[in-house]
Structures are given as structure tokens and as C-alpha cells.
């Protein structure tokens, strides 16, 4: 039995005892009602904020997806016309394919990197704070600044990357200028920009792994990769699975990189679903179609999350 199992069983016992203790002291109904009202009063500001700024717009967004509106005259109900329109759009298939490609590449390149960095950083004793600062620095830069910085790095003629690679006889590479490398270039930037947060979360999780497990493994002669595979990863599985889901949801909503770096080019190679929604709303002024596509994306992401949580429930709870 692992130490985690021991702790979770102990916690369960405490919870059960707590329930028993509560049952042993039945409260008077008036006092309970008053407590509930006080709790509700504390909740009200948060409920109002969520309700007005998040849930109500979602409901209105759903309504808009069945309407045609210019935001001046009363909206006209058009049934499923907005959905038919977006499903007929030849760019939709391209956008879905590109978005999945971005998410897939981000998974392969961007997902393991923070974990490996965190493991490596957890072994560092000197200047640990400096490394953490450096790895988190890109997150502190405004996303637009990061994207524009990388756009300059990717300049094919005098950009940083081709200049540096040229010194060792490599390149020049087209980066954003080719349909073959444009998406990969966006993923590299997004990985750089986003890995700081994940690295720190992994680092925090690693510090919770009982050191005696590593000591026992070292005594048994396990090298670093075996320790990573048999101790670190199993101990972090809850964190790993949660971050994986969060990354999937975030990367399937990629927008800033293609919007700022390529505008979906070259030849629609980096048009993503969110970029298409943006164009519907703010270039074409078709708010109904934009809402309809937003709803479809929300449904797809909800289904993905549900399937993911269902399929990983055994790993995350065992």
C-alpha cells in the first residue's frame, strides 16, 4: 500500500467521524436556516458576478446562435440557418484539422517539456529561485509582446533563429512562410510562452512526493529514469491528468498566435476554429454564425472533457 493510500484512507476516516459527530448534535431548524441565509448572503456577490458576466452571456450566446442580428434592430429567429452556414463553410474542415494539428503538436512537444524541466529543476540545489524565475519569465510577458518577439525571431532573412542556425551551417528555414512549418512554428512559440506555469505546478507537486520513496529506490539501485518512471510519474498522475486536460482545452482554443503571427496563412495553413469565429464576428459582422460556431466548439470541448474524465477516472482515483 502506498503512502498516498494510507493518507486517503485516514482522511476518509476523519470525514466519516465528522459526519457521525454532526449527526450526534442535531441543530435546531431556525439556526440552520439562519446559517444557510448567511452563507447565501456571502455567496451572492460571486453568484451575481458569475451569473451576469459568465452564465447569462452564455445563455444569450446560445440564443444568438439561432438568430440573425445587427445589434440595432430586433433580432430575427432563423432556426438552424447559422449552423447550416458554418457547416457549409469550406474553411471549417481546414480550421478543425489545423486546430487538431496544433493541439497534437502541442501535446507532443509542449506537454512533456514542463515535466522534464520540473524534474530537472527539483534536483538543483543552488540558484533554484533564479531558475524558477527564468522559466516563469515568458508567462509574465504580455502574450502579444511574446508573439511579436517571436515573429521577429522567425524573420526569414535577418531573424534571430536563421542567423544563429546559419552560424552552424543550418538553414535558412522558412518558419512561418511555409505551409509545412508554419503550424510547428506557432506551437514552438506557444510552448515557450506557456510552459512556465505548468513547470511550477509540477515542481510544487514533486516537492510533495515523500523523499523516502526516492531514498528506497536509490538504495535498490534505481537510476534517474527508473525513479522518474516508477515514482515521480505515478505520484504526480493526478496533476499530470489535470494539466493534460487543461492543455487540451487551451490548445483547442488557440487564437493569439495565428491571429498575430500569420493571420491564418500561408494558404490557410494556420486558420483555427477560434480565428474563424473571430472573422465571422468582427470581419463579416455575422454575430449569429460566430455564436453558432462558439456553441459547437463549447459542446465539442465539453464532450472531450467528459470522455477524458470518464476514460481516466481509474488512473486518477486508483
Amino acid at each position: 500500500m502506498s503512502s498516498l493510500d494510507v493518507r486517503s484512507r485516514a482522511a476518509g476516516q476523519v470525514r466519516k467521524e465528522g459526519v457521525v459527530a454532526q449527526r450526534a448534535r442535531p441543530r435546531r431548524p431556525g439556526r440552520r436556516l439562519r446559517n444557510d441565509l448567511v452563507a447565501l448572503a456571502f455567496l451572492l456577490p460571486a453568484l451575481f458576478c458569475f451569473g451576469y458576466f459568465a452564465w447569462w452571456p452564455m445563455v444569450r450566446g446560445l440564443e444568438l446562435s439561432f438568430q440573425q442580428t445587427n445589434l440595432v434592430d430586433p433580432a430575427e429567429w432563423v432556426g438552424l440557418q447559422n449552423f447550416r452556414r458554418i457547416l457549409d463553410d469550406p474553411l471549417l474542415a481546414t480550421a478543425v484539422k489545423n486546430t487538431l494539428l496544433f493541439a497534437g503538436l502541442a501535446l507532443v512537444i509542449g506537454f512533456p517539456l514542463p515535466l522534464l524541466l520540473a524534474v530537472q529543476m527539483s534536483t538543483v540545489r543552488r540558484l533554484a529561485g533564479l531558475y524558477r524565475y527564468l522559466v516563469y519569465l515568458p508567462v509574465m510577458l504580455p502574450p502579444v509582446v511574446g508573439v511579436l518577439l517571436w515573429q521577429m525571431f522567425y524573420e526569414p532573412d535577418h531573424g534571430l533563429f536563421n542567423t544563429v542556425l546559419g552560424v552552424v551551417g543550418l538553414g535558412p528555414y522558412p518558419w512561418l512562410q511555409s505551409t509545412h512549418t508554419a503550424m510547428l512554428s506557432l506551437v514552438l512559440e506557444a510552448t515557450w510562452a506557456g510552459m512556465g506555469s505548468a513547470t511550477l505546478i509540477y515542481l510544487a507537486a514533486i516537492t510533495r512526493v515523500p523523499p523516502e520513496l526516492y531514498e528506497a529506490a536509490e538504495t535498490d539501485g534505481a537510476r534517474i529514469w527508473r525513479r522518474l518512471w516508477h515514482i515521480t510519474l505515478p505520484q504526480l498522475r493526478g496533476t499530470v491528468l489535470l494539466l493534460l486536460l487543461m492543455q487540451l482545452i487551451a490548445t483547442l482554443q488557440v487564437f493569439a498566435e495565428p491571429y498575430l503571427m500569420t493571420d491564418g496563412g500561408p494558404e490557410n495553413a494556420t486558420v483555427t476554429v477560434l480565428l474563424l469565429i473571430y472573422r465571422y464576428a468582427f470581419v463579416d459582422g455575422d454575430y449569429g454564425a460566430a455564436s453558432a460556431m462558439s456553441m459547437l466548439l463549447a459542446v465539442a470541448l465539453s464532450l472531450l472533457s467528459a470522455v477524458y474524465l470518464w476514460s481516466t477516472r481509474r488512473w486518477s482515483s486508483s
Partner: protein, 459 residues
């Protein structure tokens, strides 16, 4: 912009839509005592104090001449993302200034006010250049929704770096007038200076926009009427030739550099840094290039759009319109403001001189940039004479544009869903500039297939 921002912007439209019902027409508003308050865009930011003061002086003069109207100015400029939400929430400015690519969409969506009666009651209406009214008209009904003022307006032309021309052994006073000459000049600039000979914009719909001008210059058109509907017409030889030229300059002459994903601002920046020899734009590009991107005024040159049988070019600039939520009184006041601020200095010499004098208080202001004529030659000459003492841009640098452009016909944008045409053609331009084996004819056929559906829906 991050994901949360766009998601909340799209969903926020829904929220503001619900607020709209409880809201009136923006900051401005009518009243029962005959007084009206309007909000207008265009106030220069605090970082340009002289220009800001000049704008406020003009507001004071307008209010003195129209005591029942109060003008509140904002330094917000056109932003498609915020306009929809502001309009829905009743917070959009009464008078808006939009790029000339926008009016047809705004008219089709009924987001701007019909100003036909207000504009037609203006005494100079019949004298005004109809080409400047055309982009703001609904072709089907003939109603007028706004006005393109001469200020900042231009016909698509050729902007070039005179210093690079001289270094490349070309005559800075004789820019290319045909596409063949442009190709030779681009190659000479690249070969002799190492700079980009000719740069083309390809993103944010600018690739399709420029390709439209290039097609016009070769005698082609982008849409044609077939029965009661429009169909794509850009699969003809003029557009194919325009694309083939770009492809050859990129891959045969190597005179266009390697960076091909760029919008108008990117090219302005590179031109200002002296990295680009030529690109398509109007003379008014001198303003951002010199003021924002560090370009040298004396190096800036402007010629007419190179031609190959079309003898035509395309109009560019801004339109002044009134948001659809304005009351009739606000719309009337808005039109008065537009005419006072942006048009009067183009037909009244005293107003022209006064405006130029105020602008000249800030030496950064560029006075004397050629614009599309709003009125007859006789009126133009009087106004130019009044403004002459304050002119500070070298007129010789713009002479090729002024002289050659006068011979060209000014054609409007594609009549139906122009932005969608441009959007469908951006990837085509990108392909011929990034793929050595690109086939312009096949790319155009594919784009035409996509546009045929769009035009059918837009009918």
C-alpha cells in the same frame, strides 16, 4: 489578445445586446429644447497636443456657428471588435470614421444611418465628386449613408524610396508606369542595393485588396453581373497575369525578399526603415511612414499605379458615417459636423487657409499631401492657393503621382461582399509568393468556387 478576450468579446455581444434595449443613442442625445449633443471620433491623442488643441478649436468654432449643437469628441478610432459591442450597448459615437473597406458591410447590416436627405440638402452636394460618394451608397436603393472626404483619400498608387532608386541607378523622378518597368526596377534595386525591390501585402485581406487594384490596372474586374446576381470574375487573364508577375518577381528575379506574410503596417515599418524599394499604397502613406515608422520625408516618392492596358485604379481612404442608433436630429447634426470639419476646407479657401494654419502650428503635421479631388478643378486651384503658404511636404516627390494618376479611371471596390473576395484571395497571393510550383489559374479557380457560394448567399 488572449482566448478569454475573444471569447468574452463574442459572448459579450450577447450581454450588451440585452443592455441595448434599456439604452439610448450613445453619449449624445436629443432634447425637447431643440439642443442636441453628438459624439464624434477623430480627436488626436494627448500625445499630439498641438493637433488635439487644433481639433478642439474647430469644435469651438463649430459650436459657435451652430449654437444648438454640442460636440463631444473622443480619441477612440475605428475598431471592428469594439464597434459591435458599443453599438449594441448604445455607446457607439454618433459620427464614426471607418476604413473605406467597411461601408458596404455596415450598410448591408443596417448598422449606419441613412443620410440621404441630410446630404442632399447640402448646397454643394451636386458639385461633390460622385466617386467619393459611391462607396457610401447602397447601389440597389441609391440611398447615401456617408461621405468619403478628400482628407486622407487616395487612388491606389505606387510608393517608392527615392534614395534606393538613386542608389540602384534609377531616376527618382520617373517611377515605373507599367508592370514590366516595375519588375525591372525591383530587380535593379535588389541587385544593386540588396534591399527588397518590391513588397506585397498578403494578410488581413490586403492581398486580395491589392490584387483587385492590379487586376483593374490590367483591364480586369473581380465580379460581374449574371442575370440578377453577381458571380466571380477574377479567373480571367488580367488576374492570372498579375499573380504570375508576383510569382516571377519572387522566384525568378528574387526581388521580393523572403518574408511574404505581412500586412500594410508591416510594410510601412519596413519601408520606413529603408528596407523596401516599392509597394502599392496612396500618397497618404507618407503620414504613418514618417510620423510613426521613422521614414525620411525627402526619400518618400509617390507614383501612379503601374498599368497594363486597364488605365484604371481603385479608391482608398476613410468614410464618415453616423451610427444607426442616432436620432434624426443627431444625424443632421452629425452631417453638419462632417461637412464643417472635413469637407468645407476643400471648397472654401478661407476655411482651407485657416485649417492649414492651425495644422502648421505642429511641425510634425504634414501639409500638402495629394488627395482625391472633392470638387472641380477651378475650386481645387483656389483652395490649393490658399493652402500653399503652409505646405511642408516636397511637392516634387508627389508629382509623378499627381500627373499620371489624373489619366486613370477611379474604379470602386467589388460591388458585393468585397471583404469576402479579398479574404478568399489572400491565400492565393500567399501561395504564389511562398510556393515555387504554385499554379495561379488553379488557385483562382478554387477561390472562385468558394466565392460563388458566398456571392449567392449575399445576393
Amino acid at each position: 489578445m488572449n482566448v478569454q478576450r475573444i471569447a468574452s468579446a463574442v459572448l459579450g455581444l450577447a450581454l450588451t445586446g440585452s443592455v441595448a434595449a434599456c439604452s439610448s443613442g450613445g453619449d449624445g442625445g436629443g432634447s425637447t429644447d431643440g439642443k442636441v449633443t453628438i459624439t464624434v471620433q477623430g480627436l488626436p491623442p494627448k500625445t499630439a497636443p498641438a493637433a488635439r488643441k487644433s481639433f478642439q478649436t474647430q469644435i469651438a468654432a463649430f459650436e459657435k456657428a451652430n449654437p444648438t449643437i454640442t460636440v463631444k469628441a473622443t480619441d477612440a478610432s475605428w475598431d471592428a471588435q469594439t464597434f459591435a459591442a458599443k453599438l449594441a450597448g448604445g455607446r457607439a459615437e454618433t459620427v464614426i470614421t471607418v476604413p473605406l473597406t467597411e461601408p458596404q458591410g455596415l450598410i448591408a447590416r443596417h448598422q449606419v444611418k441613412d443620410l440621404t436627405s441630410e446630404l442632399k440638402s447640402w448646397p454643394q452636394y451636386d458639385e461633390y465628386n460622385p466617386k467619393l460618394l459611391a462607396p457610401n451608397k447602397d447601389a440597389a436603393t441609391g440611398k447615401v449613408y456617408g461621405l468619403t472626404a478628400p482628407v486622407g483619400s487616395y487612388s491606389m498608387g505606387l510608393v517608392y524610396n527615392r534614395a534606393l532608386f538613386a542608389k540602384a541607378g534609377l531616376d527618382p523622378d520617373k517611377p515605373p508606369t507599367t508592370w514590366d518597368e516595375l519588375r525591372q526596377a525591383a530587380k535593379a534595386i535588389h541587385d544593386k542595393t540588396g534591399k527588397v525591390g518590391y513588397a506585397e501585402t498578403t494578410t488581413n485581406n490586403t492581398g486580395g485588396w491589392h490584387l483587385t487594384s492590379e487586376t483593374y490596372s490590367r483591364g480586369g474586374t473581380m465580379e460581374k453581373k449574371q442575370g440578377d446576381r453577381y458571380v466571380p470574375a477574377f479567373t480571367g487573364q488580367p488576374t492570372k497575369d498579375a499573380l504570375q508577375l508576383l510569382h516571377d518577381m519572387r522566384f525568378v528575379d528574387n526581388s521580393m525578399g523572403s518574408n511574404q506574410l505581412q500586412n500594410q503596417q508591416d510594410v510601412w515599418r519596413r519601408f520606413g526603415a529603408g528596407e523596401v524599394g516599392m509597394f502599392l499604397d496612396g500618397p497618404s502613406a507618407v503620414v504613418p511612414i514618417v510620423q510613426q515608422f521613422g521614414g525620411r520625408l525627402e526619400d518618400f516618392g509617390a507614383g501612379a499605379l503601374p498599368q497594363d492596358g486597364g488605365n484604371a485604379t481603385q479608391l482608398g481612404g476613410s468614410a464618415f458615417m453616423v451610427n444607426a442608433r442616432a436620432t434624426q436630429a443627431e444625424a443632421a447634426a452629425g452631417v453638419k459636423w462632417i461637412l464643417f470639419k472635413y469637407v468645407k476646407p476643400y471648397y472654401e479657401p478661407e476655411a482651407a487657409a485657416a485649417q492649414a494654419k492651425t495644422q502648421s502650428a505642429d511641425p510634425k503635421n504634414l501639409i500638402g499631401v495629394p488627395e482625391v479631388a472633392g470638387f472641380s478643378d477651378a475650386v481645387q486651384q483656389k483652395v490649393a492657393a490658399a493652402r500653399k503658404p503652409y505646405v511642408n511636404v516636397p511637392q516634387a516627390n508627389f508629382r509623378p503621382y499627381v500627373e499620371d494618376n489624373a489619366k486613370l479611371e477611379l474604379l470602386p471596390e467589388p460591388p458585393v461582399a468585397a471583404q469576402k473576395v479579398y479574404a478568399a484571395l489572400d491565400p492565393v497571393v500567399q501561395a504564389v509568393l511562398t510556393k515555387k510550383d504554385a499554379d495561379p489559374a488553379a488557385l483562382l479557380d478554387k477561390a472562385a468556387e468558394q466565392m460563388a457560394v458566398e456571392l449567392e448567399q449575399a445576393k
